[in-house]
């Protein structure tokens, strides 16, 4: 049983901000528990405890990936809270992983909320793009990074230093419909993004290909879209060769190309 000093609390916050940003960006992968817990061990003065917690937590989290769009329990909070709980409560490392899970879930819910609500910033982004206002556009991105960094710091400060028990109670009291609702929203929101994409890209003559892609992906559920792209590439090549053939026989427009705007 140990207490965490204010200095240690502050160092944990600094760590949380750095690795929290790394996790958001998926940059250097220093956000994985095996690295985070080790550093926490350094901060708490028990490196070995940190490394062991890191190894165990990393294994527990290796299968939980954000690939395919589902957000797993947050690895940063797991990496920080597992050694913190093992250190402060004196429980063994495996028990600490379980005790750290509510904190992981809390951060996961917060990030899900950000993933949904940050969509709103895109309206501002569109405006800056239209005005070619590069400075404001950069600041908008930085603002979001600051929100994420500050949130990581704050949650870790509260969870590790100020109020472990109330934080855990908070997660346990969260209604299921709300947390589930964030997930549902995350599943539907890409529809708006695709609708915007369709607005700029879709032309009548492209609709058949759109349908082929949709039907193919629906009936051959596969973990990635490579097969769809291959079908698309085949159709594109077919069209390309047809055009080349036409070009050799038909008189071409002065600039050497065929004008499709007339419709063929």
């Amino acid at each position: 049983m140990h207490d965490i000093t204010l200095i240690q609390g502050i160092l944990l916050v600094v760590l949380a901000i750095i690795v929290g940003l790394d996790a958001w960006l998926e940059g250097f992968f220093i956000f994985r528990p095996i690295i985070v817990s080790t550093v926490v061990g350094f901060i708490l003065g028990d490196v070995k405890l940190g490394i062991i917690c890191g190894g165990l937590t990393e294994l527990a989290f290796a299968g939980l990936t954000p690939a395919g769009g589902t957000q797993p329990p947050n690895p940063v909070l797991a990496g920080i809270m597992t050694p913190v709980l093992a250190y402060t409560a004196g429980v063994d490392e495996k028990t600490a992983i379980g005790l750290a899970l509510p904190f992981s879930f809390l951060m996961q819910y917060i990030l899900l909320f950000y993933y949904s609500s940050f969509s709103v910033f895109m309206v501002k982004a569109d405006k800056y793009a239209k005005e070619a206002n590069t400075g404001a556009f950069a600041r908008l991105n930085i603002l979001m990074l600051i929100i994420v960094a500050a949130t990581n710091g704050l949650v870790v400060f509260l969870s590790a230093y100020v109020a472990q028990t109330p934080m855990r109670n908070l997660v346990e009291s969260m209604p299921e419909w709300l947390t589930h609702g964030f997930g549902v929203a995350g599943g539907i929101l890409p529809a708006v993004g695709f609708a915007l994409l369709l607005r700029v890209m879709m032309k009548k003559e492209l609709v058949p290909f759109f349908i082929v892609g949709f039907v193919f992906a629906s009936f051959i559920p596969y973990s990635n879209l490579l097969p769809v792209a291959v079908i698309g590439a085949a159709l594109a090549l077919y069209d390309y060769f047809n055009n080349q053939k036409k070009q050799t026989f038909a008189p071409s427009t002065p600039d050497g190309g065929v004008d499709y705007s007339d419709g063929i």
């Binding site: 969509s119 982004a125 930085i142 929101l189 698309g232 159709l235």
Partner: protein, 266 residues
């Protein structure tokens, strides 16, 4: 002739590889990585378009459309598209190529990095760490720093590929542009099926023993993913015909999701 158009140096491309770190800076469910994608490329785009505000704004708008690809491989796509942008290729061609390529690249990246490298590296380094050995975290760190440095390689590769193909693309620009839109449209269709998830949980009770699950017994039997397609087209309709603002659509979608979750429908 081609050389004269080059404004980006090798150094710019290397810098781009490092800036690709920002890909997910403004990640959100509506546009996913679009904001960070544009932010990463902004210095290069500014250098290409210089004082041409109109061209820069067009390019920024195009690059702010939905994109979701793999952070470790994104440099390849950035390099490739910037080489076309640098040659002032047709905007539609660049846009279509982007749409056509980002999703397959994401699939390849997920398979390599999340499903192959991470489990292997995590497994090996964790086995050291669980015995309390610092070797575990160090192996992990070394591998991932290596993977990050490789971003420089992918980015240069994409840029070179694009630059070398540019002459070929120029001569049959319109055929290629049309082919690219075909590929892009096919992939968008697939994207909707893969990324938009709507699962109805409601059941209709017929009698005491039997209930019809709306999703598995009805929608999935009628046509898989009919709801995601329907909702996307509905959003498309509101955007195009009703000129609805995206922010309103996002807010309404979010509200519907929470409400229907509370009612137990979704």
């Amino acid at each position: 002739m081609t050389e004269s158009k080059r404004v980006l140096t090798k150094k710019d491309i290397t810098k781009l590889a490092f800036r690709s770190l920002f890909l997910q800076a403004s990640f959100n469910y509506e546009r996913m990585q679009a904001g960070g994608w544009l932010w990463s490329m902004l210095p290069a785009l500014k250098k290409i378009h210089k004082d041409d505000k109109k061209a820069l704004s067009e390019s920024m708008e195009d690059n702010l459309e939905f994109i979701n690809t793999h952070p470790n491989l994104v440099g390849f796509l950035m390099g490739l598209l910037l080489s076309l942008e640098e040659n002032k290729e047709d905007r539609n061609l660049i846009k279509s190529l982007k749409v056509a390529l980002f999703a397959p690249l994401a699939g390849i990246g997920d398979a390599i990095f999340w499903f192959t490298i991470l489990p292997i590296v995590a497994g090996i380094s964790a086995s050291f760490a669980m015995q309390g050995s610092i070797v575990g975290p160090l192996i992990f760190l070394a591998v991932y720093i290596g993977i990050f440095v490789l971003r420089i390689v992918w980015t240069h590769m994409g840029y070179e590929l694009g630059t070398n193909a540019v002459e070929k693309i120029k001569t049959s620009s319109q055929s290629i542009s049309k082919s690219a839109s075909i590929l892009g449209s096919t992939v968008i269709g697939g994207l909707i099926a893969a990324y938009v998830h709507i699962t109805v949980l409601s059941e209709v009770k017929i009698n005491k023993e039997h209930a019809v699950n709306l999703q598995t017994d009805f929608f999935d039997k009628v046509f898989p993913n009919i709801l995601p397609l329907g909702f996307t087209l509905l959003m498309f309709y509101f955007l195009k015909k009703k000129k609805a603002s995206p922010v309103l659509l996002i807010a309404v979608t979010f509200g519907i999701a929470i409400l229907f979750s509370a009612l137990g429908v979704l």
